[in-house]
Symmetry: C2
Subunit: 142 residues, 2 copies
DNA sequence: ATTACTGCAAATACTTTGCAATTGT
DNA sequence: ACAATTGCAAAGTATTTGCAGTAAT
């Protein structure tokens, strides 16, 4: 993806392009693929736009989500954002907190889309457990 | 399920059976199948145990989750608990907030369990959109 | 010119923590 | 008797809101 992709999507959804939004786009674009919280974005953007506030970051991330360029899911008590639009799961390690994408059979989506009367707008698959690194650390070789 | 099921599971995990826990069990057992927040449990249990606090409810729900009798997932900014142990999705309506279980092909779980090096401890599938009732309300017949 | 956006401060919502008193085993 | 649990109050996160000033279109 490119910064233009995010800018155009915002424009098409009638959102204005502000310096703060450009900085968020810069952050998000540089973070692809990856997972980040509003706080992560805030801390990074504040370096270039020192007066920006978390409230504004929340506003901007909501706009980008409405524009369809980012997704979000909830885990560990916070909202995580991501740019991966392929249908996938998010594995979150209970030990180190790291989040990684996991491929998932698309059949699941088809099942969901065939639900009578329900319109599916968002799907969030969160898997928690222990990641490879942490599993190894806990089970030292004999 | 029965109240004994929840009591026994707590005992097996070395948790003590207190009057407060019995009331939570009563609530949860009467709520099967269903979805509830700590607040929901609190408001109900408070009627019989007026001195109970939310902190205690959180403690009890954590114990029950550790004992394996309830699951939890995050959606709409809060933690939801449920008793359904079949692998399934939770559809949450963006309009009315209602949550309903949706059947899901178990293959997904198998895929996840075969991930190399990762130990899967919990899976949460949250689908958001508009439920049947709300869809109809928004699209009046001509 | 108009409307949307920002920054700020305060409010709200959810959850956890520390600790003394109490209770289940 | 002992460790676990409760109740309470306070603190800790995460997120939202209202509003006046500012900036994008």
């Amino acid at each position: 993806m490119s910064k233009e992709y995010y800018v155009n999507a915002l424009r098409e959804s009638k959102f204005k392009i502000t310096p703060q939004r450009l900085q968020v786009i810069k952050y998000v674009n540089g973070k692809t693929p990856g997972h980040f919280t509003a706080e992560d974005v805030y801390l990074s953007v504040k370096k270039i736009e020192p007066t920006v506030t978390l409230a504004t970051i929340y506003n901007i991330l909501k706009a980008m989500k409405d524009a369809g360029t980012i997704n979000s899911f909830e885990a560990n008590g916070t909202t995580w954002f991501e740019t991966n639009h392929e249908f996938h799961g998010n594995f979150i390690c209970r030990n180190c907190g790291e989040i990684v994408d996991v491929p998932v059979n698309r059949n699941l989506l088809n099942d969901l889309n065939s639900m009578e009367g329900f319109s599916v707008e968002d799907v969030s698959l969160v898997i928690s457990g222990t990641c490879e690194k942490c599993s190894k650390a806990k089970t030292p070789q004999l």
